[in-house]
């Protein structure tokens, strides 16, 4: 009877982690080859939530396709929209009003904090600590409420449209954001006391899922994953868009390349996002929030590429236009897809527990991989 337990010819055990598994946060499927508890081989299988947004976008107009990208990386949907909108604006050479630019950037950073908060809670839960999840959600809730007031939605905001933003800010926006900043600053120490300083947590994270700088570049790892390995890859710094060029903030670089470094990068990044918001929140200029655009957008024939920094890394939009009202071909370069490709290298030879720790700090959002 027990021969049925799948083994390889070498006598290793093959085990399926996912597509439904508590630690994969979605429908990621990893086929693991194990020697006892030690990982011999990891093979990701994707496609359980593939909706072919790239194909769908080919039949949507330039105004419509932007909102399909909210459904990719739903935790940084606003930044995805932002990237697409920038790409269309680049093609049409629309000048976005300064007010709209600043609103977009503030929203970007709020989204980034919200995304990192969720990651923080979920990652702690992967490691077996349940409580941080609820603490993270408490702060995240404040952000989603701010979003809800202004954008009308909590997760897939669809707030950006080519030329600016859909609607003006809610009158309470500035007040609420400021009170959020105060709240956040009082809580971040709690995070560090509860999780970062915990000896068990540090033992679980340090030296786990090591990714060298060369590998990080070669695998195309961006965002906190790349920066934890010492690759300078913050698009906001390297190829500034909107008002990022004028802002004061640091690109967080760590050199350790392990899970703990990735963790620390994200924690520090939240602080930097707060710093950006603080610079902008009192300086939102009056004026238009939406530039005048034609009702039907037609991109000139050509190719347009725009990259933005989402919470997970470099998000790229590549539009091939034939001059019509719909894109001829669209390609999304999703950060998670490249980051995931490094996972088999990162966890080879470590324990199952390390896989969870490494996967947790990759911050995978499965619809982002599958598109």
């Amino acid at each position: 009877m027990f021969e049925e337990i799948g083994t390889t010819e070498d006598g290793y055990m093959v085990i399926n982690i996912g597509p439904q598994h508590p630690a994969t946060h979605g429908v990621l499927h990893l086929v693991m080859t194990l020697n006892g508890e030690t990982i011999v081989k990891t093979e990701p299988h994707l496609g359980y939530i593939h909706r072919s947004i790239e194909k769908m976008s080919e039949s949507l107009t330039y105004r419509q396709f932007i909102y399909a990208t909210s459904r990719m990386d739903y935790l940084s949907s606003h930044i995805n929209n932002h990237g697409c909108s920038l790409c269309v604006e680049k093609g049409l050479q629309i000048e976005v009003p300064e007010r709209a630019q600043i609103i977009r950037v503030i929203m970007d950073e709020l989204t980034r904090i919200a995304s990192h908060e969720l990651w923080w809670g979920a990652m702690a839960m992967d490691l077996g600590a349940f409580t941080p999840f609820f603490h993270a959600f408490r702060e995240r809730e404040t952000i989603t409420e701010i979003m809800e007031e202004t954008c009308g939605a909590r997760l897939t905001m669809n707030y950006i449209c080519p030329g600016g933003v859909m609607a003006d800010l809610h009158p309470d926006f500035q007040k609420k954001v400021k009170s959020f900043i105060t709240l956040y600053k009082s809580k971040i120490n709690e995070y560090n006391e509860l999780v970062t300083g915990n000896i068990i947590f540090q033992n679980r994270m340090k030296g786990v899922g090591y990714l060298s700088k060369e590998d990080a570049i070669s695998f195309g790892c961006t965002g906190p994953v790349g920066r934890a390995s010492g690759v300078s890859c913050d698009i906001r710094k390297l190829y500034p868009y909107e008002v990022y060029g004028k802002l004061q903030f640091d690109e967080i670089l760590e050199t350790a390349g392990d899970s703990f470094a990735r963790y620390m990068v994200r924690i520090h990044e939240m602080n930097q996002s707060i710093r950006i918001i603080e610079q902008l929140i009192d300086n939102i200029p009056d004026g238009e929030f939406l530039a005048k655009t034609k009702a039907v957008l037609k991109l000139p024939k050509g190719e347009f590429y725009q990259r933005v920094e989402t919470a997970r890394g470099e998000f790229g939009v590549y539009i091939v236009s034939e001059g019509g009202t719909t894109p001829y071909r669209i390609k999304y370069r999703s950060p998670g897809f490249s980051n995931l490709s490094a996972l088999p290298t990162m966890v080879k030879g470590s324990k199952i527990g390390d896989l969870i720790a490494a996967m947790g700090t990759l911050d995978l959002v499965i619809p982002d991989l599958d598109r």
Binding site: H50, K55, S59, G302, G316, Y318, S338
Partner: protein, 151 residues
């Protein structure tokens, strides 16, 4: 390195390459047979150091397929776009996943949706779709009368 310098250097290195104007990056076309050696040069040549492949796209032009590789250098911060035209009936190109490891997944994606065969790819299987899927969905002539809604 500015785009102009880069262009001169590339012309010097790859005399057979043709350039395409327009766009923010330098676009150049190269023959499929030369792609592998070209990729090696781009990665290893001092002064070019294109060590970061950030986007691999396949475009179906109905008459032919084009593989588009977006490359960037983490040292010099310049970017180029390399395009390779492929025969639509039998698209074949050398893999570059030994040069840029990220290409392994991206090439599997291109194989999955466009049917491009990557020669010497270590594990060329469908990545997103099921193994018994018929056809290549992102090609322009793909038709699925049941599941696709025409607008």
């Amino acid at each position: 390195m500015t785009n102009e310098d880069l262009k001169n250097k590339l012309t010097e290195l790859f005399p057979s390459a043709t350039f395409e104007e327009g766009g923010e990056f330098i676009n150049f076309f190269i023959e499929p047979s030369q792609w592998k050696s070209c990729a090696k040069e781009l990665k290893e040549k001092a002064g070019l150091d294109f060590d970061y492949l950030f986007c691999v796209t396949c475009v179906d032009w109905k008459t032919h397929l084009t593989m588009v590789y977006h490359l960037s250098s983490t040292i010099h911060r310049h970017s180029i776009v390399v395009k390779v035209k492929l025969n639509r009936d039998q698209p074949e190109i050398d893999t570059v996943c030994d040069i840029w490891k990220t290409a392994e997944f991206h090439e599997r994606e291109a194989f999955d949706f466009f049917g491009v065969t990557f020669i010497n790819h270590p594990d060329l299987r469908r990545l997103f779709l099921t193994d018994d899927w018929v056809g290549f969905p992102l090609r322009k002539d793909y038709d699925d009368p049941i599941n696709m809604i025409k607008l």
